[in-house]
Amino acid sequence: MMVDFDQVALVDVTRHFGRRRAVSHVSFSACRGEIVGLLGPNGAGKSTLIGIAATLVSPSAGEVRFGGRGARSHGPALRGRIGLLAHELHLYPELSARQNLSFFARLYDLDVGEHVDAALRSADLIDRADDDVSGYSRGMRQRLALERTLLHGPRLVLLDEPFTGLDDRAVGIVTERLKRIASDGAIVLLATHDLDLADGLVTRVLLLRAGRLIADETAGAGLRGRYRALIGGG
């Protein structure tokens, strides 16, 4: 069964890991076409929020709603509309780029020939498609991981530091790619502490500190100044 949604909403979400509170009473929503930046220093709770939105981490309190549905109501079908690129790249280094993408395409019940070749072209890896991923540079792996994340055309795209290891040209390509998928109707949630990269990309900014949401505002010029005022440093 195909599940789709126009909005993802976190409602009063709290998450404890033992006695440590990683996220505390966070509420926000994001709609189709938005690129929402989760900004904050290390330990602010960005990755935990990404995990919760991905349904991989259960909130200790509160809930995530996907267009009015709870995460549990449509388990596998709902997960099929989510794409996640986390710190680690979710790739098998012993396999080639083509084998990695083919495996995930089959896992998502996609047409392998059509989707894999398109993803390889988009990652600019068509010439190295049959090389083992273990021989790739960090930037090549990152590009491949992004294409793996977007392979099934997810409605909700969750990215945790997606620019790690990319050179300026690759950053430009990825930025344009994210803008394009957002304009095609995806909801993009992007966790980063790189304010310069976030500045021209995100349409909305959520500032986090010590697990709490301290600002939710439309993106605009002077992001670094606002960040410094609210968080400090930056």
Partner: protein, 225 residues
């Protein structure tokens, strides 16, 4: 879709192992070393201690299995690929089944070498009732791996996973080990006691049904952080 995903994961694990051969070689090396050491201790003047062959075969399988389980999930931990599998639009128990099939296949391949080696070093008549022996080995391997795959997946994020896996695994799989050893010992008796071996095989199959059912039932809640 459930079986398709399980087979897909099995195929992926086989493809990785075919390239690296890392787990097969390390488990075989470990298990063969184990059997060789025991053969020096329990075989005197060409005669082995009674029932030693059955016990040592199953000890080698258990040790090799523990090593294989740990390494299989280490691969999924390395690139956090387990998260990618958990996020796929498939029933999560299918992931468990795919990983289980992969470990069982690997151990069955190891047993193809271990059984003749034990038969040779301990002068054990392991091939008198080959079908019954194969049944005991397969049922015992499935039972051991059913529990081991669940625990290895659960412990994948734990820093002390290498220590915790055998601590959790061995006490729970004691019934499987006892059934495997007694069933194999019954086959090694002269003449082979088919009735007793069949009884232990039936018990092993019962363990398998219970362990696999419980693991499929608990895999999803246990894997959600």
């Amino acid at each position: 879709m459930f079986l398709k995903v399980a087979l897909l994961i099995l195929r992926k694990d086989v493809a990785i192992e075919a390239k690296s051969r890392e787990i097969l070689y390390t488990t075989l090396f470990f298990a063969v070393s184990c059997i060789l050491v025991f053969s020096f201790a329990f075989v005197k003047e060409g005669r082995a201690v009674e029932d030693a062959a059955a016990g040592i075969l199953w000890i080698a399988i258990a040790f090799a299995g523990t090593l294989a389980l740990g390494r299989t999930f280490e691969r999924e931990r390395f690139g956090e690929t387990l998260k990618a599998l958990l996020l796929a639009p498939a029933a999560r128990p299918a992931i468990y089944l795919g990983k289980l099939l992969g470990v069982v296949l690997l151990l069955c391949l190891a047993e193809l070498l271990l059984v003749p080696l034990v038969a040779l070093l301990f002068s054990a008549a392991l091939f008198v009732r080959p079908a019954l022996l194969a049944g005991l080995l397969l049922a015992g391997t499935v039972g051991f791996c059913a529990v081991g795959t669940l625990f290895a997946a659960m412990l994948v994020r734990a820093r002390t996973r290498d220590v915790l896996l055998p601590i959790l695994l061995y006490p729970i799989t004691v019934p499987v080990m006892i059934a495997g050893v007694r069933g194999t010992a019954a086959l090694l008796a002269s003449p082979p006691d088919e009735q007793v071996a069949t009884m232990w095989l039936g018990l092993l199959v019962s363990f398998d049904v219970v362990f696999v059912t419980l693991a499929l039932w608990t895999f999803e809640p246990l894997m959600t952080e």
